[in-house]
Amino acid sequence: MNISKEKCVGCANCVPVCSVGAIYIGDDGLAEINTETCVECHNCFRGLSFEHLQPGLTRTIRRVLKKFGLRFQPDPDVCPTEAFIPDELSWPRIVRRAFSDPMVTHESTGVHGRGTEEVKTNDVSHRIKKGDVGIVVEFGRPGIGVYFREVQKATMAMAAARVTFEEGNPVAQMMADRKTGTIREDVLDEKVLSCIVEVTVPLDDTVRVLGVVKEICRRAETVISIGVSTVCDEAGNDPIREILERQGYQIGWAKVNLGLGRASNASINAAGGPR
């Protein structure tokens, strides 16, 4: 992302809007983007409203008002001169946008966002089976961001702990070797707003793997959000809550798949019904 020096009037509205604090006011009084910190989420370009004021006139008005101790300040969600210019991104920088802009479909998964459909469609995909537990580890969330170099430290530790990475996950797609958890060299210095590592483990291995994740968290430079999912039994009860509470985790907020979905695509019906 770029900010046009010709258009920017230095109102600084975009500074707090940036998801990772990459926008600042430079020595010339105009907004600039620290391209190393920017994760190409396009939040500034997409989320700010645009007013199409004439930049030169606006700067003059701001200067004149300043002399009288007054300010011309647009609403906090408005860029008065539409000063943002999105870049044409190429590899590997485009990885930043793929993982950070929620409106971009991740090519590796065909899904918007940073992970897979996880348990959201599990009633039709049966990705997580009864007796299994899905562990979703999101690096950089909330709002801090992470370099793939740091993610690699974690994926290597997870691989060493003999966990199996979810095949369709975007981070797994970035791996050079899933057995060792190494990520391809050319993306290691790319920063993203967050990225999700997904693993599936047998129920009785959950505590051990969460212990591995806990150790990763202890050494992390960034923040990490953790989610744990499982399939319910015939009565709708799940076997994981009690285990988590015993481990000291507070259970409150959750996402529940109501089980109302069914596989209905013609290709599935032609093949004799869902698996």
């Binding site: 989420c41 899904v111 469609t121 039709v124 801090i144 259970i251 109501l258």
Partner: protein
């Protein structure tokens, strides 16, 4: 994506926050999913959702890209679009989400969605015991559950609790902590009404899962100095 999974707050501040969303599984039931997503969203309207979206177009609350002097100072700003316009704009099904600030309305909506039998996956993100309550009322046996275990790692880098409770209502991180903090400061200073600040933040959440009622509650509490 786990965009509704990690909302920060105590159970007391997270009640009356219900996100119901419909999603088709790629390769399983995505044929004809757009019409089902539209039916899902249209059905929600009569239950008065407070937000709506699907991340493929801007949500109910959306930025205005064509502001003019006349619009700003004479006509007034348009903080959100209409439900119908949003639904008509959907290019594909995505993850169609509606947000309720009332468990009763969410429950009635789920009851009707169950009767419609759309065949796509329906999920609710909320306090798990509240969801189980809805399942009981509507006679649904849940298929799967995903719990948040919260934020870990270098949590010293996180902002204060009030800021976090606002910014994490967009799970994709589009409501930045700095912007949430700015909104808090403006409300505290009396320069902005809580409802204006809430809709200002909601415009950045492209999925439409930002709960403006909860944001107003947080901001009103801060304004009162509680």
């Amino acid at each position: 994506m786990t965009n509704t999974l990690h909302r920060f707050g105590t159970p007391e501040t997270l009640n009356n926050d219900f996100i119901v969303f419909a999603m088709a599984g790629k390769g399983f039931n995505d044929e004809g999913a757009l019409d089902k997503a539209k039916t899902f969203l249209r059905t929600a309207i009569k239950y008065r959702p407070i937000n709506m979206g699907n991340a493929l177009v801007n949500a109910l609350y959306r930025p205005e890209k064509d502001l003019t002097f006349i619009k700003l100072y004479f006509v007034g700003r348009q903080e959100k679009t209409t439900y119908e316009r949003l639904i008509d704009e959907l290019p594909s099904s995505g993850s169609a989400a509606v947000v309720f600030d009332d468990g009763g309305q969410a429950s009635q909506f789920v009851r009707e969605i169950k009767q419609l039998d759309l065949g796509v996956s329906i999920n609710i993100s909320a306090l798990v015991d509240d969801v189980r309550g809805i399942c009981g009322e509507v006679d649904i046996t849940p298929h799967a559950v995903e719990y948040t275990l919260g934020f870990h790692g270098n949590t010293s880098r996180l902002p204060d609790r009030d800021t976090l409770s606002l910014s994490t209502m967009c799970g994709h991180g589009m409501v930045s902590a700095n912007f949430a903090k700015k909104m808090i400061d403006r409300v505290k200073e009396g320069r902005m009404a809580p409802e204006t600040a809430a809709s200002c933040m909601a415009k950045f959440c492209v999925c439409g899962v930002f709960n403006t009622t909860r944001a107003m509650r947080v901001l009103n509490r801060i304004k009162k100095g509680e």
